[in-house]
Symmetry: C2
Subunit: 266 residues, 2 copies
Amino acid sequence: MISATGIPQTGGEVRRLIRAGGFRQPTSGVAPDHVQANVAILPRDVAFEFLLFCQRNPKPCPVIEVIEAGQVEAKISAPGSDIRTDVPLYRIYKGGDLVDEPDTLSEWWRDDLVTFLLGCSFSFEHALMRNGIDLPYYGTERNVPMFTTSVQTVPAGPFAGPLVVSQRWVPENKVVRAVQATSRFPAVHGAPVHIGDGAALGIRDPFKPDFGDPWVPEDKSFVPVYWACGVTPQAVAMASKSELMITHSPGHMFVTDLKDEDLAVI
Amino acid sequence: MISATGIPQTGGEVRRLIRAGGFRQPTSGVAPDHVQANVAILPRDVAFEFLLFCQRNPKPCPVIEVIEAGQVEAKISAPGSDIRTDVPLYRIYKGGDLVDEPDTLSEWWRDDLVTFLLGCSFSFEHALMRNGIDLPYYGTERNVPMFTTSVQTVPAGPFAGPLVVSQRWVPENKVVRAVQATSRFPAVHGAPVHIGDGAALGIRDPFKPDFGDPWVPEDKSFVPVYWACGVTPQAVAMASKSELMITHSPGHMFVTDLKDEDLAVI
């Protein structure tokens, strides 16, 4: 149901609005507490190796669901959905180059395409906020700082490349809580990969992110904490220069029927 | 190194002994605290769908590592290993029928075979025992009781079938601890799927297992606790009647270099 504020409250409601052409904006904040997913669509001939890449790199590439070739419905996480119409904005890459940014896949869909829905950081950010850890960029135009690290992912077939991490500054006395709160959610990147000086990850300047906006903490006692980031599989898939690859447009996610808490392992 | 008692203490030591022909017995109790794996080897043309089956059914089918077609080394969990020689006893199935039980794969190996190493219950049984939960069959000729349930797995391609569970009777005051201790290890079946009356799983008589040996608890206050079982993917793969399928012989596992604690998520 749509709330008094006009914000859709469930995954199904968001998807129906998008499909009807009534929602073409970023999905942050819609259907609160529902799991949103990164989308990566690839031809069947590289699907095994991409799934294997995800299995080998579960922190940056947590798989929520895979839709097989010839099918368009996320039967497990979003019954009744259609991946060709239910994302607000898509990006089409050919040989690694962006060639289109359509609002449906009607012109691009092929029956040999396999869809990967991968965990996104919204769910674990909710967990951080519920635990009193402030995320100043949340709900603003600004984005979390992200860094390409010197740590290599474990390759599979044509899929290889560096780990990308997101950075959040956490008050010293909340660092343990940040680890605990996110460890519960391995399906959305899980526990941090690193706490403190980013030099171990090859990060020279913690205030010069490769993507997103710099975050200068209000207090010198804040500690930088790094989590594996969903940009990793997108960058790796793009670098593989697959003949065709389709993703969501940044921030314009696929909203599932799962609740954040459904993904908690403990 | 081999201990004074003659029991190999590491995965590498076990594998070298097996490869040299000096170890043809079940692997229970060797290389204590090292992760042992179920083995399922299938042709590449069904590999994507089998990996997807595992992704959809992580409790019965936790993937430790996948060795791609054309390769024989488990590079991540057992560097230097060779899957063709490092398992004490194999089983060969053609079209779902057992046709051979060799001690190497020299006559059966093909370059299109993909190896799946799946978590085995030994690791989480260690966790139960460390937490004071007694497993009377452990280290004996007897086996844990296993039941084919009325719960269906989530299918993928030709892979489908019922969930198989193992049963352990836990003192009432240890049931919470049993959940906690095994929840730490999702890569080896993780938390139980059910506590108490097996009717919810379609189990009519808790003392008449479909596989393994009956377990009658010493005390009426003991509660039956059911975990997803690694027999599930084997049964499902066999039922798919794949042209060729190779597994370990029951109890004769692949021993990795990973320690049980490496698999803990918290």
